[in-house]
Symmetry: C2
Subunit: 259 residues, 2 copies
């Protein structure tokens, strides 16, 4: 399945690949292939050995974890994102199941090739370390969010983050089913409904997948977003530069936890 040049360029532009030598990049790409998957496809199961680094080019995907017949969503991925990087680096088994939510185009790159490329190209190895650092910090934010905030606070912050990522207008549309959102935010679907109901008092109007934030200031007072938890508020300086890497990691949807 040959890639279109447009897609190759989008991949090359990713922070993970942009600093690699051309030789390195070519070596990675020749072993890689693009594949289309329908919605609801399981790409990788928890516990499986990981043979490929995945890059979501188009569509929507989800990482989930399981225990004792319970399931939780750890991250929702948007294009263009890499995932399962940590397992690839360590050549270890997957800790999360990866599933497509929408029909998706996914680039798969040989894990073996990634590990070889790191050893031979220090710039690429540095980029991998930076990507992983961003992922790591995304997860730290997730844990803080989970342990320190209550359900409606998590929802309120999710909405504010989604608002900026959708351009800052007063109304945003949920990118997936509410049940997935509930799982991502660590609650049941029933409770998400009630959390939305609570937020009505704070100027949040829900109409199917369309959510309007009528009084941002009021919602903000409830949500108390924090630059050390919510990655959408970056420190004034450094919107460009180094921090961009982490920004990328976390921008991919609320709690950035690829990999």
């Amino acid at each position: 399945m040959p890639m279109r040049n447009v897609d190759i360029e989008r991949v090359r532009a990713l922070p993970l690949f942009s600093t690699a030598a051309s030789r390195t990049f070519d070596a990675l790409m020749t072993g890689g292939f693009l594949q289309k998957f329908p919605a609801g496809t399981t790409l990788l199961m928890e516990g499986d050995p990981v043979d490929f680094l995945y890059v979501l080019i188009e569509g929507l995907a989800e990482l989930q974890g399981t225990w004792n017949d319970k399931e939780t969503t750890l991250a929702v991925l948007r294009p263009v994102s890499t995932f399962i990087l940590a397992a690839v680096v360590l050549d270890a088994e997957a800790l999360m199941t990866a599933r497509t939510i929408d029909r998706s185009d996914i680039l798969m790159i040989s894990g073996e090739a990634v590990r070889r490329a790191m050893k031979e190209d220090a710039a690429f190895a540095v980029a991998v370390a930076e990507e992983l650092s961003g992922c790591y910090r995304g997860l730290v934010r997730t844990v803080k969010n989970q342990k320190l905030r209550g359900a409606s606070e998590r929802l309120a912050n999710y909405l504010l983050a989604e608002q900026v990522s959708q351009g800052g207008g007063p109304t945003l549309s949920l990118p997936h089913e509410k049940r997935v959102l509930a799982s991502l935010l660590g609650m049941t679907p029933e409770n998400l409904s009630r959390a939305f109901a609570n937020l009505a008092d704070y100027g949040v109007l829900v109409n199917g997948p369309e959510v309007s934030i009528l009084r941002p200031a009021v919602l903000d007072r409830l949500a108390k977003p924090d630059r050390l938890i919510d990655s959408h508020l970056q420190p004034s300086s450094a919107r460009i530069g180094m921090a961009a890497r982490e920004c990328h990691a976390s921008a991919a949807g609320k709690a950035a936890a690829y990999n």
Copy 2:
């Protein structure tokens, strides 16, 4: 503050440093210094810029996160562990506060030097990526633990993990105050007391900081430990080899979340 040779060797033996070229290692060490801190010292505050990579040589330390006047412990670190690596790699502000729990010896290495070393020594950059991968996976485990299990289940699994890390005997001793454990496990001290009381029915006997597991099989049936959450059960093969890296990361105390 010059380091003893013993300590230098312990650092050199860490997975993070063992594959680095001698030049690289020397360059890192010459910019570094060892310092002793009393218990309860704040090494780094949430939101501060990070100038050093920290290595806990002796003692006990804690990483915590804050929001809205609430505080939670994200990890408890034992020697020998590095922490704050991700922030160093990205030259970013700290997402967590680092505090000593006991009197501790801590090696501080210039962050600038770390970033330079990565660029110049691919083997070191790879080691950093591997270390970060282990940390990342430790956090994934933490999130699953937190979202999928109830309080007593978390405690039960903590005890089983602590048991193996203390040699597998029937009785273990808690390495720090129970209040810290409560925070680490995501509950209040009061609730931890009650969780311990619940576990009495499962053969757990508490006497101050000494905890005895009288009927491991019974406790195990409650805890349902899982290789994809609890890092202390490694897949039969590969106890040596690649997986050792992740093992190291997660062994450092329940939920390995340095950095």
